[in-house]
Symmetry: C2
């Protein structure tokens, strides 16, 4: 008996049920982070056996659509459907080239994002961006690590672009880069402070072109630095 006996590509009942539950989540019937009805209730309302629900939940867990919290129940994931390494980047063999390609994509997207942020940021967004910019500077002056604040700064800008696709794509690229290179910007403190500040000020002044150029300069420093290390 070979592996071909396990399960065919045709949809099984649990897969169909998993699809139904996914549909309910997508339609906001069950919201992000919300607890799902228990196995018994789901079985009743979807008119299938509890074994089928159990299998369906396993499928949903593996796709990161729901998550099981031990002793608490099954919950809709905070970012449903966004799996680890969703783009299969881990399967790209040449890690050096992958790093270069990731940085290249970042350089394509983030300057445009900065320009959009300059157009669309609310006053509250701008306040937070300026605060995050200051937080990085403070950490640098104290000689502390600032990677987390750095990521927060870029995330706030992405959020201010008001583009949801960007918000889903960028973390994938950032985390892939983080896994590949040890991102110690220790050698880049001066440039980081200067270019971050230029980006933040341009967004605050609502000058898209300036924001784009400043972010591009920031990306180029990073690229150059990582190329050397």
């Amino acid at each position: 008996m070979g592996l071909e006996t396990i399960q065919s590509n045709d949809k099984s009942l649990p897969e169909l049920v998993a699809g139904q539950i996914t549909g309910l989540i997508a339609d906001n019937e069950y919201k992000k982070g919300e607890k799902l009805p228990n196995e018994f209730q789901l079985a009743q309302s979807l008119n299938v056996g509890r074994g089928t629900i159990r299998e369906a939940i396993k499928i949903l867990v593996s796709k990161n659509i729901v998550e099981i919290r031990r002793g608490l129940g099954t919950f809709v994931a905070e970012k449903p459907g966004l799996v680890d390494d969703p783009l299969g980047l881990g399967f790209i063999k040449n890690k050096r080239k992958l790093t270069k390609d990731l940085l290249e994509v970042r350089s394509m997207i983030e300057p445009e994002i900065a320009a959009l942020a300059a157009e669309r940021a609310t006053d509250s967004d701008i306040e937070k961006i300026l605060e995050a910019c200051q937080a990085v500077e403070d950490k640098i002056h104290k000689g502390e690590t600032f990677e987390e604040d750095d990521v927060a700064f870029h995330k706030l800008i992405a959020k201010s672009s008001k583009n949801q696709v960007v918000l889903n794509v960028l973390p994938v690229i950032h985390s892939a880069i983080k896994e590949l290179v040890e991102v110690t910007n220790a050698g880049l403190t001066e440039q980081t402070m200067r270019t971050h500040r230029a980006v933040a000020d341009a967004i605050a002044a609502r000058e898209p072109e300036k924001a784009k150029e400043a972010m591009l300069a920031h990306m180029l420093y990073n690229k150059e630095y990582l190329g050397k290390h």
Copy 2:
């Protein structure tokens, strides 16, 4: 008995085995599209029971790392780990805004891609791009649908950029757009022919800035058109 009894977040043995097999695939031990050893052989070489292998394979199928071909066996997927809707875009509620956001991201990436293609395309790449450009024109002149050739044209340019991340990201964005809007470019034939040709010629002439501008013009026509329909 609630759902919490099903499976905890701690890794189960099948999950660990699935991770092991994923590692072997990532390390090219098993290559894309290649047949995996059968259940019995896998159980022996990984030193676990066949039931565990069976569960592990189910997990790998749901993650699109392997696929089962009925009667033939289990094969490494052609694009391992790239699941349907990997960015969870289907979970974004406002479909009109999602369409706009997707087109916006396309406008960020594709002009830069065209510029890179102008720098990096091989002679053979250029030949194929020009052929694809011609194929679209021929279809338009015959009054036939040209969506497939259109996608092929953009894909060849992405391939010529030699950026693997772009090659993994773009199909996700293209297919998400395709699901949301009925992409009949019927009303855009003149602009499509003209801007495609300008992109292809600029790449063939190895002029990155021109290629970028032409692609941007192409994107703007599409955006404007889709905004109206």
